[in-house]
């Protein structure tokens, strides 16, 4: 069934500053969902808190806007409750790599079938410009001190934690980003898509132009080098070589088995549809164990 991008739009007014990188992420996500022929009611989008988290207001799907840093456990809860939904999670660099990085670590270990899109603008946008975990050393805004912490390198860390799908996008390239999101959704397991999504209001350093200079495009690079995206060692070496400043598909594990498929006894159907009555037989067993 053909699904149009329009079906994934909502009436909600756009909220971001004009020029914000998150617009492109939104457009890519909507396009990806439509291209995949998904239907809005079968998609759930869980978002964290931040400018980026507002993305949940603009995608017509089931939307759950949770607390700061907790998008991933929520996405897991949704997915386990109804494994037939397509579940995405989204948020900012502060939300995902700062307060929420513990959950990211464990989501990767579990490999739950959720696509996680992080809008990485190297700053706390919503709270008006504090440093974030991905802020460069020495980065500073009007309200922050010069950053003295080593910036996070999410793609490399994710790989080292055992991620089965890692990609990076850039708000200036909607086409590539759309493709990456599609691949992420299709991937059987957890997919991390880190998007360099400039904050035009509070980050005067990591601008569109800056990223254009900074980022190597793997679409080109890999063609040249013939790198195999299913080779984890190669992916890690590549990331170390570029210190993470690449965009495109970084790694994909073709043998990935999602968490849901490893759970013993877990129903194929959505638990929300389950018949909740308990059989007399099971009840007898339960009772007999207490006698």
């Amino acid at each position: 069934m053909a699904v149009s991008v329009k079906q994934f739009k909502t009436e909600s007014d756009s909220w971001w500053c004009p020029g914000c990188g998150d617009f492109a992420v939104l457009a890519s996500m909507q396009k990806a969902l439509a291209d995949l022929g998904l239907e809005p009611h079968n998609v759930a989008l869980v978002a964290g808190i931040g400018c980026s988290g507002k993305i949940g207001n603009y995608v017509n799907s089931y939307n759950f806007h949770v607390t700061h840093g907790r998008a991933l456990p929520a996405a897991m809860g949704v997915k386990l409750a109804n494994r037939n939904l397509t579940v995405l999670a989204a948020g900012g660099d502060g939300d995902g790599y700062g307060i929420g990085v513990g959950h990211l670590t464990h989501a990767i270990r579990r490999n739950i079938n959720v696509t996680y899109v992080v809008m990485d603008n190297q700053v706390y946008g919503l709270t008006k410009g504090q440093n974030s975990p991905t802020s460069d050393l020495g980065f500073q805004t009007k309200v922050s001190l010069k950053s003295i912490e080593k910036p996070a390198r999410p793609a490399l860390s994710a790989l080292s934690l055992g991620a089965t799908f890692v990609a990076q996008g850039f708000s200036s390239d909607v086409k590539q980003l759309t493709r990456l999101i599609k691949e992420g959704v299709q991937h059987q397991g957890f997919s991390l898509i880190n998007v360099f999504s400039p904050c035009v209001t509070y980050n005067a350093i990591n601008t569109y132009d800056w990223f254009r200079e900074q980022l190597a495009n793997l679409d080109d690079l890999d063609e040249e080098s013939g790198r195999d995206v299913t080779d984890k060692g190669a992916a890690m070496n590549m990331l170390r070589e570029y210190d993470g400043w690449v965009r495109g598909l970084i790694y994909r594990d073709p043998d990935s088995v999602p968490y849901e498929e490893r759970i013993v006894g877990y129903s194929d159907e959505s638990l929300s549809q389950a018949d909740l009555s308990l059989s007399d037989e099971l009840w007898s067993k339960i009772v007999s164990e207490q006698q």
């Binding site: 909502t10 809005p40 907790r70 456990p73 409750a81 464990h106 389950a274 207490q290």
Partner: protein, 607 residues
């Protein structure tokens, strides 16, 4: 055969103690199960330290022909497998009590200790049949003699336990059992044992001669959750709640559900809430420290109107506190812990039976009122086990509350569902992810009917009021009142002290003091009006709770003040019994306190 009067309201308390890891638990459990199968009412509990191995631990069983709901302050028989057991427990042994000790360690009684020491070569007996490890079974044999229990019951139990290990093992155990029995019979012919009145009925449940259940509160709650349709559990281990997660991990696969041990409590509650959002009956269980960590997301569930069940098995606080000790000090955190204005539903079962039914009620209320439902358990309720004659899996039908119909989901021109429509009850139909046309935004920010974020002052007030209205219609038996309608003393409490209060009420009545118990089973919405009625009819009130701050009493007093805005009531003086040393409340403590205050007269005050 011993044949004398049964002390302590016709119950006997038998205890076995040793170093942690020395089989105290399995020995105690076997004794308890045997007594339970015989048709007795059994109440058993462990004392343990937060150490893993080593450290004293013991298992106590209070048993009688009638329901037993609380531990006793006195033991009647103590089985000591080491000297430390004697040193730590002799004081609790009743004068004239019996002590069975392993001759092996050369047991000595502290001076002045008025009990009879039966030194029995338990280890020797066990070794003679193969292995010292069986000394616990020898102790059971010795105990059986003193308690006048036929060995056949133990034989069956041993068989059940060792069936898989082969007949040799089983036979050796049986031999040890008999030797223990015979040794006492032979060497202590003059010892007066303790004998119980015969059990009232062999079966349970009236007609059906099915053995009664023997369950802990955690087990009962988990069983209730399964029956109540819980299909997803996300939890993080913590004493004394871990067994709930463990139980669900074991049984959810049988119903196609999923149990996840998450990385922390925030993930646990977040996953459970998200599953609730997705239309699944989901829960998490924890204890104080985890509850504190869950507060933020609890508020999220409130404002998003998501059903979920959260069980808090209280232990000694604050912080790590006393992780293996009884306390009821999370009440305030349960009611008031999250920031912002929310209205809670908080249930507090007082018995294992109630835990079973309240689990089911909790899920019904959560879905009916579309909000989190908290359940307050406490360590004694969670871990102590007792006889429960029967649990009816069909008593409480599942009620899933208002779910959007096809009609609701037809909204021309709009692709979105008006999830948060205003209504008189405050409750509006919810859609379930996957339902076509049901898409909406659930957000922790204030929102309008479609869920879109709104900062309008008018909408704000409307939505705050909507959510507040929802709990007004909570329909549950909030106060379980037992006893005299115009009592000399009204005991009020929640949670596990219920058993001790009820026992005290009976004992007081026998002593001519009119007593009643108001067991608060629903702590929020707080049944203030109803309680004010009861209180105003009592001559004295005693609030029994296991915390230092008088958390329940504070709430009661605030409610009594409010209920009396028109000055129609005259309240009696409010006394309190607050026990916060980590030990369960004993009936005798209540009885003594009441007697004393009744003696001193109940000064009425004009409140």
């Amino acid at each position: 055969m011993p044949d004398n009067v049964v002390p302590h309201a016709s119950t006997i308390t038998w205890k076995v103690g040793a170093e942690q890891g020395q089989g105290v638990d399995s020995t105690g459990t076997m004794m308890a199960l045997v007594l339970n199968r015989m048709g007795y009412h059994v109440y058993s509990y462990r004392q343990f330290s937060s150490r893993i191995k080593g450290g004293h631990s013991n298992y106590s069983i209070r048993v009688g022909p009638d329901p037993v709901g609380a531990p006793s302050h006195r033991d009647d028989i103590l089985v000591a497998l080491d000297q430390e057991t004697i040193d730590r427990n002799h004081q609790k042994l009743a004068d004239g009590g019996l002590m069975i000790a392993d001759s092996d360690f050369g047991p000595t009684l502290p001076t002045g200790c008025q009990v009879e020491l039966l030194s029995v070569p338990l280890s020797e007996i066990a070794s003679s049949e193969g292995h010292k490890i069986m000394r616990n079974v020898a102790a059971l044999g010795a105990s059986a003699y003193l308690m006048n229990i036929p060995l056949t019951e133990f034989e069956e139990a041993l068989k059940r336990q060792f069936e898989r290990k082969g007949e040799k093992v089983w036979a050796a155990n049986i031999a040890v059992l008999h030797k223990g029995y015979e040794y006492v019979k032979e060497h202590h012919p003059n010892t007066n044992g303790l004998s119980l009145a015969p059990p009232r009925s062999k079966g349970s449940n009236g007609s059906v001669a099915e053995p009664a259940l023997f369950v802990s509160g955690n087990e009962a709650f988990a069983m209730g959750a399964l029956v109540g349709g819980c299909r997803l559990m996300a939890g993080y281990p913590i004493t004394p709640a871990s067994e709930i997660l463990g139980y669900m991990e074991r049984y959810l696969p049988a119903v196609g559900g999923a149990a996840v041990q998450t990385e922390d409590e925030m993930a646990a509650i977040m996953a459970a809430v998200a599953a609730g959002y997705t239309g699944v009956r989901a829960m998490t269980s924890t204890s104080g420290p985890g509850l504190s960590l869950m507060q933020e997301i609890l508020g999220l569930a409130h404002i998003c109107e998501i059903p979920v069940v959260i069980v808090d098995c209280q232990r000694g606080g604050p912080s790590t506190g006393m992780p293996t000790k009884q306390e009821q000090s999370d009440l305030w955190a349960l009611l008031y812990g999250t920031h912002g204005d929310t209205q809670r539903i908080l249930l507090a079962p007082g018995t294992r039976e109630e835990a079973f039914y309240d689990a089911q009620l909790a899920f019904n209320l959560a879905e009916r009122h579309q909000c989190p439902v908290l359940v307050a358990m406490d360590l004694s309720l969670s871990l102590d086990e007792s006889t429960v004659p029967h649990l009816d899996k069909d008593r409480i039908p599942i009620d899933r509350g208002l779910v959007a119909t096809d009609e609701d989901l037809k909204h021309e021109g709009h692709s979105r569902f008006p999830r948060f429509l205003q209504s008189e009850s405050g409750i509006s139909p919810r859609s379930i992810p996957g339902q076509p046309g049901g898409q909406y935004l659930a957000t922790g920010a204030e929102h309008g009917v479609y869920g879109w974020v709104s900062e309008s002052p008018e909408n704000r007030v409307a939505m705050v009021n909507k959510r507040a209205r929802k709990v007004e219609s909570v329909d549950a038996e909030s106060i379980i009142y037992e006893g005299d309608p115009e009592p000399d003393v009204l005991m009020i409490g929640f949670g596990s002290p219920r058993g001790a209060m009820s026992e005290a009420a009976v004992a007081l009545a026998a002593d001519g003091i009119k007593a009643a118990v108001a067991h608060l089973r629903v702590l929020a919405p707080f049944p203030g009006k109803e309680l004010a009625e009861y209180v105003s009819r009592a001559k004295q009130v005693l609030v029994v709770e296991q915390n230092a701050n008088g958390q329940l009493q504070f709430i009661i007093e605030a409610a009594l003040f409010r209920a009396n805005a028109d000055g129609q009531y005259t309240y009696p003086r409010i006394h309190h019994l607050r026990k916060y040393n980590g030990v369960s409340v004993y009936p005798v403590e209540i009885i003594e306190m009441v007697k004393e205050s009744v003696e001193h007269g109940s000064q009425r005050k004009a409140v």
